[in-house]
Symmetry: C2
Subunit: 503 residues, 2 copies
Amino acid sequence: SLDKDAYDITVISPTNYFLFTPLLPSTTVGTLEMRSLVEPIRSVCRRKNARFLQCEAQELDLENKEIIAKDDQGRTYHQPYDRLIIAVGSQSMTFGVPGLEHCNKLKTITDARETRARVIDCFERASLPTTTPKEKEKLLSFVICGGGPTGVEFAAELYDFLVDDLPGYFPSISRDEVQVSIIQSGDHILNTYDKEISSYTEQHFSRSHINVITNHRVRAVAEDHIVYARKPTKDDPNPEEKILPFGMCMWTTGIAMTPFTKHLKEQLGGAQKNARALETDSRLRVAGVPDGSVYALGDCSTIMNPKLVRGIVEYFEEADTNHDGVLDHDEFAHLSQALIRRFPHTEMHLSKAGEIFRMYDKDGTGSIDLDEFRVLLSDIDQRSTTLPATAQVAAQQGKYLAKKLNTLAAHSLGMPGNAGDGGSVPYDEALARFHYSHLGSLAYVGGTAVADFGDGFLVKGLFGAKYLWRGVYWSEQVSFRTRALLALDWTKELLFGRDSSRF
Amino acid sequence: SLDKDAYDITVISPTNYFLFTPLLPSTTVGTLEMRSLVEPIRSVCRRKNARFLQCEAQELDLENKEIIAKDDQGRTYHQPYDRLIIAVGSQSMTFGVPGLEHCNKLKTITDARETRARVIDCFERASLPTTTPKEKEKLLSFVICGGGPTGVEFAAELYDFLVDDLPGYFPSISRDEVQVSIIQSGDHILNTYDKEISSYTEQHFSRSHINVITNHRVRAVAEDHIVYARKPTKDDPNPEEKILPFGMCMWTTGIAMTPFTKHLKEQLGGAQKNARALETDSRLRVAGVPDGSVYALGDCSTIMNPKLVRGIVEYFEEADTNHDGVLDHDEFAHLSQALIRRFPHTEMHLSKAGEIFRMYDKDGTGSIDLDEFRVLLSDIDQRSTTLPATAQVAAQQGKYLAKKLNTLAAHSLGMPGNAGDGGSVPYDEALARFHYSHLGSLAYVGGTAVADFGDGFLVKGLFGAKYLWRGVYWSEQVSFRTRALLALDWTKELLFGRDSSRF
């Protein structure tokens, strides 16, 4: 929604399409077409009179405000900018596990295509007369490393394929011969979701004969098996290693920096402390860039929440209007509102000021003293976790940034960056911080979906939850085009079943 | 349409889908989705209770009636058969031209995907600021070797893309900068079509700024240019070599045997004389297989028409009922009907017996003597060209064979092949020969289509011919599924334009 009259837009990307990754697991067994999740960047550019360069960003020249990009012939190109938005996404985390080249992944279209081909290959090979029973068992073992949304949804799609299409397409393979295993290092799968959701999913999977192996870590991946073991504990510091043969192994865990963000982080030195993503302030400006002209959003970035404890004296003195050294009920209520306005992420902790007041007035004096206030702020600081690396966050950040940039453009005669007056720092400061409103977490778990809309409002396995899940993603699509294509795909699947062609 | 109760069917193929190749050119610029041209073999097998093996046929053991197939691990498998149908298609002909690895082809899904990626790559690279004007000119030169239906339709799709989508997607490239050239060794493109059709297409292309270079041959292909020259003539036996740089080069010419058919041809020795395809009799039985249990159809086979001249004395004496040494009008009419019944391919030459009689009664005696009859039969033999390697022929052959095999099964108690009584030769002889009825030739030439329905009934560039073209192919699809998908694709293109994503 960036104003095309106010900005001259250039998009630099090594792929010329935008991929809606949350639905990628659905393409692996043919429920969705890959093309339906893809929006050509040039279609978007056409609407915005934007320029598109199929190049890969290599380096940032902060001095001259240029991005250095490389084309696929290896030639570099310097693109000057007034404002730069970094949205390069992330890579899979390896955790130092050897042999990940034997795993399939689900980050790109190529990954999805390879996964689909591999799944079909396993079934095709397993139904050949030349295949021994032992090989067949191995081929029909699907191992998923990581019990996050991607792993769970891939398991669910596999399960759907097994139930709906396997008997018709591969009559020589019975359901019992297929083994699907999820290896998860945490206590539960879907552990960023509400606990009830994750245990519902575990039960649903165990009924569907999907093995959920929690508290285990993958140690190594070989060509046709993984080595895994229970997480070391005090009682058992060297747990026994186990072997699980596979026909295909899916690696879905973790988020790591791309070479570009890694390089930028090093360039920015001490201002960047996070190992997994670029740190930004709550206005999405990359920390350490002096003129505030570089923004980052999506999986490649994380918002640093300021430590409230550091400003404790200032806040307390401002709030203590009658200067009696403690905060009474009204003073605290005012302070809460002021803090929420200033630090939107505190809303979930401070919105119910009355309750909070009673909770932290430990000595029951009817007022909060500085020590009690310190405990409260520390608790908030601790609970303010980083935002999840989801499409939902990235989409809201994109909208926030476009709106802000439009406002900045509308309120300045000429672009401050262009005028060489040190960028837009003072302007930007005047505008609102980014505030994430969590609309709920969704996951498709095979035949049904689970949803966690926050505040304990959960949806689990209701009839129709599958369509709710589809509906939410459907409404999030970039364009009417992808929305229509998705609707067509789902209709096709309903009418014709999945497509078992392998190419 | 093979009877699933009469036969136990096994399908052996290295790919697990059937590809409708005539529409493949449409996928190269995103008008059609590749998946829409594809029917999973397992869907067809499900309807027929057939078994599918994803293996590649290697060799035929005629003695033991076994097909030896190899899986993708290189292990071989022997599949016994009572009747074998060979439909392995063909390969591109190289004509000994060096450097064809630099060309794109259009035989398989992978070919089409690579072509699509290459086309988009050329445009993406051409619009980069790092690209020099000379490179841009090279990148935007598309060379098509071969002016048959595939080459022409690919040129037409490229043209559509240039007209409909280029300005919106690639604003930095103008239409004039794009050069499309077709190199054709013959006098005309589409030379298996009616002359009027091919000259209409040439005019249409020249108006569309597509260069048609006829009477030229490609001598060599390098990484980024072709070397070509005029066909040598008596006056100019060593024509000058010319160079044409390209961003992509499409090789569409010729049909050659696959390794499997080549091997089988050698095995069958003297019975097989054709260098490009397996020879069959007019009942589609592969020549040289003694028990007639091996059939071949489609591009991998060609029907040997018996030389009528060889039977001249027999036919003449049978027809000359009054034994006066010449054929009068009635005798000739009877003979014509008998010959048509026996050799269906003579129908187009003999159906108008009256005209033919007058034409070949050179001396005007009102009767045809043996010498005049010899001229007639030689003319027919010469004009009986082999059937074109088209989907239309293959589809009719498939229907013919299924119907025949059903009849054979219905009229035998137990399968003759199973009983070890020497196969079904006598049974098969009693049934009709294959008769090809040409329904017309179609080609899409950009914005419109050309059609040649035989007997001079031509359709050229009518408004709506494009939809006629689509309609005919649409009705030829294997299943309701592919038909629906095609309709959706065409609707999508109409609504949303083509998809420029490259993956």
